[in-house]
Amino acid sequence: MSVNFASAVLSNAILSGTSLLYATLGELVVERAGIVNLGLEGIMLIGASVGFAATFVTGSPYVGILAASLAGLAANLLFGYLVIGRGANQLAAGLSMLFFGLGASALIGGRYVGAVIEGLPPVLLPGVRGFDALVWLGAPTALIIWWLLFRTRRGLALRAAGEDPAVAFAAGYRPDLLQYQAVAFGGLLGGVGGAHLSVAYTMSWDEGMTAGRGFIAIALVIFARWNPLWVVVGALVFSGAEALQLQLQARGARFSPFLMSMIPYLLTLAALLFWGRNRRSAAPAALGRNFHGVE
């Protein structure tokens, strides 16, 4: 296998994995605050459809991405209100958002199927394949999130809300406000993740085009043990599997694409088993529970 092959797989994995990266980072922040959103797929779809529609209508992909991020933020805040404000079951609320996103995106994007847009322009650096701005910003975003979560007061408070809300409350923070902030931020990134697919990568819109990426992102958060830096690696692994099998096909080799796609999930399960036996769970301790304030 030539260097050419490896770099082709890598660059394709990076390109197709960018949307997954952003969505996963968003979900990670939300989960660090103690909330799991199973409906991330719906948020991404809303981002993809709004982003594409806005790009077509205004002619600017930047406006499109912005609109998508705001739409994702709004949708996630709806989810957040139900879970934080009304104390709803997180899994049920998340799945409801999945259906919401499936339906809303079909309605929004419906009249734009087949529309032609100019996608995000590539940022050309000498010697490297032209990636668009969002691709370049992916890893730095992960770094910034890592720094925010692990090196700032606010990040500590947010993580505390996810580990033990009562402790955060005792330290003077409002866990529910922190959770709202996390949910808003997560929705923003989720919308961007969806929009990258439609505005930059394929430059088209089709119903359900995220094809399960939102769910993959949820698995990826687990794979990365809730650490943003590992998310970058994980996004490469998860999207690399698909890039690898397509490049192998183009070279004439054949390995069952389905078996290859299974590998990241099997790896995740194996990792969970291994770490679990040591009784060390990386998950935020209060993940999935809702804080009800001081009784």
């Binding site: 197709s16 087949g114 990568y201 394929t202 119903e207 096909q249 070279r251």
Partner: protein, 355 residues
């Protein structure tokens, strides 16, 4: 507990009001697996049906898009029958069994399925004989390529798609003995992200002409345009609009005449089920206009190939060896159109695994 009776009363009231049914000479239903704006397969079907509607006064057309190839399509078609449809076009390959079963339960409704083989007293099958038509496309690609690598994205690796790839390579080889076709299978008729990734993979492996057998050529053509790569379209000649720089030519379906004839025969109660497979010669398939970059001598070669195929030339005539070295057709032997569905080997020069 007065709520429940109130609700029931409301339901009965709604039921009682009947909408005014417009009188219609014939109600036709059509089910699409994707969107009719896809610059591809579904758009070509839709345009054919619109042509049928324009040519048949008093015809009502019911359409449903994005219907998956699952049990859902049964409900949609039945719903159309409930709305009075007497002719149903099941336009996607995967609808066949469901449409066939439904045809047995509704003997007074005529069903036409695209791309399959089943037939019944009220069930007909139609498609374009695409394989031979890919031969001139291969001629065009073979002449226009500089890297001698052609890229072909296949959606679902059925025998007919393999036949298209084979004819494409045979055409390319006939004008350029060094031309090779690399094949990437996405596994689905329509998956935009996979198609983009597949196009990228082919371009990375050196392809400078891309073509495809998926429902919508749009994504792959756009990816080609972005990378400065040439493209050949399929399914609908409208795809030309997507590649102002890199368009060579393309194939498109021309369903209008067939659909109009079918509708008229149903209205006259003269429908006879048939297995209709027509190609370039009969006008079921059309060749798109050439792109700006195609020189006149190449155009002449392609047109000559189109002529040849229209007059009945079968590119699957021996001697033909497959890409593993096995001789598949001896001198003088040829493979008929009815055998295309069972193809499971690629001709020499195609890089890929058919099985």
């Amino acid at each position: 507990m007065t709520k429940l009776p109130m609700l029931m009363a409301a339901c009965l009231l709604l039921l009682a009001t009947r909408p005014a049914q417009a009188e219609s000479a014939l109600t036709v239903g059509a089910v699409y697996v994707g969107s009719v704006n896809d610059y591809g397969y579904n758009q070509a079907m839709h345009e054919g049906l619109e042509a049928m509607k324009a040519a048949t006064p008093g015809l009502t057309l019911l359409e449903a898009e994005n219907v998956p190839e699952t049990a859902e399509v049964d409900r949609v078609m039945q719903g159309m029958i409930q709305q009075g449809a007497k002719l149903i076009f099941a336009t996607s390959f995967g609808y066949q069994q469901f449409a066939f079963d439904l045809s047995k339960r509704n003997p007074d409704v005529v069903f036409e399925h695209a791309g399959g083989w089943m037939q019944g007293p009220n069930f007909g099958n139609f498609f374009g004989a695409t394989q031979a038509a890919w031969y001139p496309m291969g001629v065009a690609a073979g002449k226009m390529t500089k890297s001698n690598t052609l890229g072909f994205v296949v959606g679902v690796p059925i025998g007919f798609a393999i036949g298209n790839v084979n004819a494409f390579e045979l055409g390319a080889r006939s004008v350029n003995p060094k031309a090779q076709v690399r094949v990437v299978v996405t596994g689905s008729w329509s998956d935009k992200t996979k198609e983009t990734a597949a196009a990228n993979a082919l371009i990375d492996q050196g392809a400078d002409v891309l073509t495809m057998h998926v429902d919508s050529p749009a994504t792959i053509i756009r990816a080609a345009e972005n990378h400065g790569v040439l493209s050949i379209g399929f399914q609908s000649v409208a795809a030309r609009a997507l590649a102002p720089k890199g368009w060579i030519t393309g194939l498109g379906f021309n369903w209008g005449p067939f659909m109009t004839a079918t509708a008229k025969s149903v209205m006259a109660h003269e429908f006879k089920p048939a297995m209709v497979r027509e190609g370039l010669g009969e006008g079921m398939l059309a060749v798109a206009p050439f792109g700006a970059k195609v020189p006149k001598d190449v155009q002449a070669l392609v047109n000559a190939a189109v002529e040849k195929v229209s007059k009945g030339y079968n590119p699957f005539t021996g001697p033909i060896t497959d890409n593993k070295g096995v001789v598949r057709l001896k001198e003088g032997e040829s493979l008929g159109g009815d055998k295309m569905g069972g193809l499971d080997w690629y001709v020499a020069g195609v890089i890929g695994e058919a099985k």
